[in-house]
Amino acid sequence: MNAFTNGSPTSLPAHEHTGADPAAEVAATPRRRRWARPAVGAAVAAPLVLGGCNMYPSYGASRGATKQGQDTFKLFSGMMTTGVIIGVFVGLLILFTILRYRRRSEEMPKQFHESIPIEILYTGIPVLVVAFLFLFTVLTENNVDATVPVNATVTSTGTPVEHVRVTAFQWGWRFSYPDHNVSIAGDVTNGPGGHGPQMVLPVGETVQVTLVSNDVIHGFYVRDFNFSRYALPGVTNFFDLDILHTGTYAGQCTQICGLYHTEMLFSVKAVTPAAFQTWLSGEVAAGHTLQREPQSEANTPPPYTHVTPSNALAAPSSKKGSL
């Protein structure tokens, strides 16, 4: 196995940009990325390859179900490997010192107190290490943070773009599909048994998520996407997801947002584009359209309806999510 072949399945440019894109540094990323990702692997994972292990050990993390998530995972794994090497080296050095220089006599040791060359060495080497880590960080960051232009319907490589507007509120999520006149929502009444509302997305397309909050700060987080972003009141955040595999991925609010933060669950169901279209038509037929969206969830917060015994404040009545 070598670094170049391992890097190739996902090293296709994530988003090629049309000439109209004003963000020059974003447009320039695909060129740099071609050598960058194999280089990350070569630099930080070489010892493990030589040892016959997987080049990107997972360390318990998800390998990523999106293009962006896979990029992030590789950076994470490479940095972890670097960290393990440095940590084990320093840890063994401490352990060696402890064992080697245990007090064996009352003799006074040599009273040296500095060694300028060694001190320069252990200042210089960390500078180089962090410089390399920073380089690979910036290269990965340019990939995972890149977004297609807001109103684009296809990427520059011809991949269709879906737009989803995610609205976080206390304590639930609304997923709107403005191009398809579909809007669904769910709150804590759907969880934990119901696991919250479900956002259905197509694989093989670029999904641009527009993230907003109606009240306090929430955190949009899907573990298998290796990604989270705050939903900030007064701020509109954008990010792109290129989902690679069909499946259902659990998501959850990660930023403390009040009493029912724990149960602010959701999930993402990734389906084929054809199944996605079928699902959209079904939702329209069921009347889950944009017209049914309230003006602002902030003005009509869902009542407390949690009924597990762990919650003394729960109201007895139960209201279905605003589906």
Binding site: L75, H113, P126
Partner: protein, 594 residues
């Protein structure tokens, strides 16, 4: 600071500021003898204590208060772990759970970690280390303690008011902390407490800076100040940079809550994320305000138990200064996932902090290298600090990378990271300092066997608690949740973490037994039980009123060691070579500062 007093053997200390500076009744050495305990005072004694401006009395009060808060907050952590041990546990309800993690964080960070170090240990030790009779402003010092006691009581007792304690996490992000989302009086008490304890920190910061700059004994140049005091100086400067910003942010939040301003609310044209900028502009220097004192403790302990001088003294000072400087420019690495900050800048500065931190590590190793190491309790705890801080530091480097932060932000990966750093510093290094200086403060030893048991249980419990938290974080468990689903696959790791937390809790029983034992059956400590090098080991244990009856000549950062081991003395060990050679040609007389 100059003196005209010379003596052939020893330097007389300078007279303190004035007799009125130390409250009625004075505080002779007999007041601080082994039988002296704040808890058991008669009326006169309490009056004495309340009115005392002696840095040693205030330092001990700070330490006792902050340790009480540490144990209260630790108990909260055990309840939190109990709740998380089981996916659908109902030990506490959501509201109580939110209050518990908020108060656990607030008590640990605002009321224990900082005050224990710079209010307690620094207050007691810094004047001794620099050879001063007291802090520069004794009355300000007393005011600082009473503000701290008032502020921390206010926060602790906010549990009993209607609506309960604050429940938005120790960072209090707007708009969750506004009057709509957190209407209770507990939030106002929390804010007021930050104001009071913030001023207490500022006053102590002023005091430490002034004491180290202006009250050093004759002969103690800045490059002969022990690293513990150096770190306290830098901490003091960071306090003066960071805490006023926090106070400003808190005042504005209070105005939003009560006076109809809209500084942090969108509806009135405000900017919620401003709170995060202000809070973390305080909060990241705060991380180093918490860490630097504890680095200093370890840096003082390791040479004593290695029988060697510190390796790379100047490198250590410059590393501390660079950490402090960089720490004021990294605040937005707490905000990478907001989508509204410039990622590469804050990422680069955060990475750079790894460099001076690495220098410190290698200096600690270099100090032990070639030494004669003995592993009494303070040294054991320092070794625990090295390993804990190593893993916490390495995972911290990962979090300096914005994409990795997107992946792990607000998960238990981050929780495990900062607990490893903070427990590594405040608990391992903090208790190292406690075991190290307890004999100096109370004139009696702590039991070595109990101390070692305390260490080993704590050390094992620490890893069992926090390594699973990294893993459960990578499996997607967010922080600040009270329940999770059995199908998440987080159960076993959480159970393990809870078992570890119980072991940590159990380890402190040895600590309590140790305290009681040392109180019941005192073993006299003598002036210098560890063969320490700094000036505090030159005076009696506990030190007399105004600390010193005489001082040794100060030719290096460890004058006591030079005095006790004249055959190994290296004059001006940090001066340039020409100067040193010149001095060594002089006859080996002690004293007589030029």
């Amino acid at each position: 600071m100059t003196t005209t007093i010379e003596s052939p053997e020893l330097i007389e200390p300078e007279e303190p500021g004035g007799p009125d500076a130390h409250g009625p009744g004075g505080h002779g050495p007999e007041d601080h003898g082994p039988d002296h305990a704040h808890e058991h005072h008669g009326p006169t004694g309490i009056l004495n204590w309340i009115t005392s401006t002696d840095h040693k009395v205030i330092g001990k009060s700070y330490m006792i208060t902050s340790l009480v808060l540490f144990f209260i907050s630790g108990a909260m952590a055990l309840v939190i772990r109990g709740q998380l041990a089981d996916p659908t546990s109902s030990l506490v309800n959501f509201q109580t759970y939110n209050e518990l993690f908020t108060m656990h964080g607030s008590l640990m960070l605002y009321l224990f970690a900082g005050p224990f170090a710079f209010g307690g240990l620094a207050n007691y030790i810094v004047p001794l280390q620099v050879g001063a009779p007291d802090m520069a402003y004794p009355r300000l010092n007393a005011l600082s303690y009473w503000l701290y006691l008032g502020g921390s009581s206010m926060m602790t007792f906010s549990f009993v008011v209607a609506g309960g304690a604050a429940s938005f996490g120790w960072v209090a992000y707007a708009p969750l902390s506004n009057s709509i989302n957190s209407p209770g009086a507990g939030t106002d008490m929390w804010l007021l407490s930050l104001g009071l304890t913030g001023f207490s920190a500022i006053f102590t910061g002023v005091n430490l800076v002034a004491t180290i700059f202006y009250l050093r004994a004759p002969g103690m140049t800045m490059f002969r100040v022990p690293i513990f005091s150096w770190n306290m100086l830098v901490t003091g400067i960071l306090i003066l940079i960071a805490f006023p910003v926090l106070f400003g942010a808190v005042v504005m939040l209070f105005c939003d809550r009560h006076f109809g301003t809209h500084i942090y609310s969108v509806s009135g044209g405000g900017v919620p994320v401003l709170w995060q900028h202000l809070f973390w502009f305080f909060g990241h220097p705060e991380v180093y305000i918490l860490a630097l004192p504890y680095f200093g403790i370890v840096t003082d302990i390791i040479p004593a138990f290695s029988r060697k001088p510190l390796f790379g003294y100047r490198g250590m000072v410059f590393a501390t200064l660079s950490i402090a400087a960089l720490s004021t420019g990294v605040w937005a690495h707490h905000m990478f996932t907001t989508g509204v900050v410039l990622l590469p800048f804050f990422s680069l500065l955060s990475y750079l902090i790894a460099v001076p931190t690495g220098i410190k590590f290698f200096n600690w190793i270099g100090t032990m290298w070639g030494g004669q190491l003995s592993f009494q309790t303070p040294m054991l705890f320092s070794m625990g600090f090295l390993f804990a801080f190593l893993m916490g530091g390495v995972t911290g480097v990962l979090l300096a990378s914005p994409p990795v932060d997107f992946m792990t932000h607000d998960t238990y990966f981050v929780v495990a990271h900062f607990h490893q750093v903070l427990i590594g510093t405040t608990v391992f290094a903090g208790f190292a300092g406690f075991y190290f200086w307890y004999p100096k403060m109370f004139g009696r030893m702590l039991n070595e066997r109990l101390g070692k048991l305390h260490f080993w249980f704590l050390f094992v419990g620490f890893w069992v608690t926090f390594v699973p938290q990294y893993l459960v974080g990578l499996r997607g468990m967010p922080r600040r949740i009270a329940d999770y689903l059995p199908t998440n696959g987080w159960t076993f790791l959480n159970e393990m973490s809870t078992v570890g937390a119980m072991i940590i809790g159990f380890s402190f029983l040895f600590f309590f037994v140790n305290l009681v034992t040392s109180w019941r059956n005192p073993v006299p400590a003598g002036d210098n039980p560890w063969d320490g090098g700094a000036l505090e080991w030159f005076t009696s244990s506990p030190p007399p009123h105004h600390n010193f009856t005489h001082l040794p000549p100060i030719r290096s950062e460890r004058p006591t060691w030079d005095y006790n081991h004249p055959e190994h003395r290296k004059d001006e060990s940090h001066g340039d070579k020409r100067h040193r050679e010149h001095e060594q040609k002089e006859p080996e007389t002690v004293g007589a500062p030029s």
